[in-house]
Symmetry: C2
Subunit: 132 residues, 2 copies
């Protein structure tokens, strides 16, 4: 059974990014698709890595951050020190993410306040300008 593979455009469409982005990630050593000739062939594993990278990006990590994380994740055997550093790194990331969650909750609250403020200013029928 041959595993499913993806072309660069399939993958970029699926994740709403451009092929350029995928090539860029490869350039930055985040993904290493195999080649058939000189054409990139992405595996399921590559696809999973990509999903990880993009999610990391959405929550504020840089792509090089994600590169390091992925390396840790796929680390098969390594020195103790590397693993310790990995653990430390993970813990720090968890902390910043938890802070971000708090920030988001507070920002959400304020956004909803703004919406309420807007609503309480609803114009009267027939009126399309409000002056104070």
């Amino acid at each position: 059974m041959t595993e499913k593979t993806y072309s660069i455009s399939e993958l970029s469409e699926e994740f709403s990014i451009t092929p350029r982005t995928l090539r860029f990630y490869e350039d930055q050593k985040l993904i290493a698709p195999t080649r058939r000739g000189q054409t990139r062939v992405y595996s399921k594993k590559d696809r999973a890595r990509l999903a990880w990278i993009l999610r990391g990006k959405r929550v504020g990590f840089t792509i090089s951050d994600m590169g390091k994380l992925l390396d840790l994740y796929y680390l098969e055997g390594g020195k103790v020190k590397q693993r310790e550093a990995g653990l430390q790194g993970c813990r720090e990331r968890i902390k910043t993410l938890e802070r971000q969650k708090k920030d988001i909750d507070e920002t959400l609250k304020e956004l909803r306040d703004i919406i309420d403020m807007f609503k309480s200013w609803e114009p009267y029928p027939g009126q399309d300008n409000i002056k104070i």
Copy 2:
């Protein structure tokens, strides 16, 4: 009673940013401190705006995003269309923030899995290298 004010360095230290950053935000019309001579004097209100901007930044908004949001917030009277746009903008931001929260939760879960993985590799006493 004269309200409390802050110097550029007070404020930048409090929020762990550089004075350059504050001047930059002013350049971008995000904050408009008053002046005593040519020296910037920040009010409580300025400080609040700054806190907003920085929180927005932490959760992934650009500073120009935050500028627009602040304008909406401090909007005193305006056309209906502006307010409608403001409402729409807020709703969109709320959506992306909620998505980000989900992303964060999933990322947190995976980070914790990685940590568990690391832990299960704990070396035996006296051993400081693991090979596979």
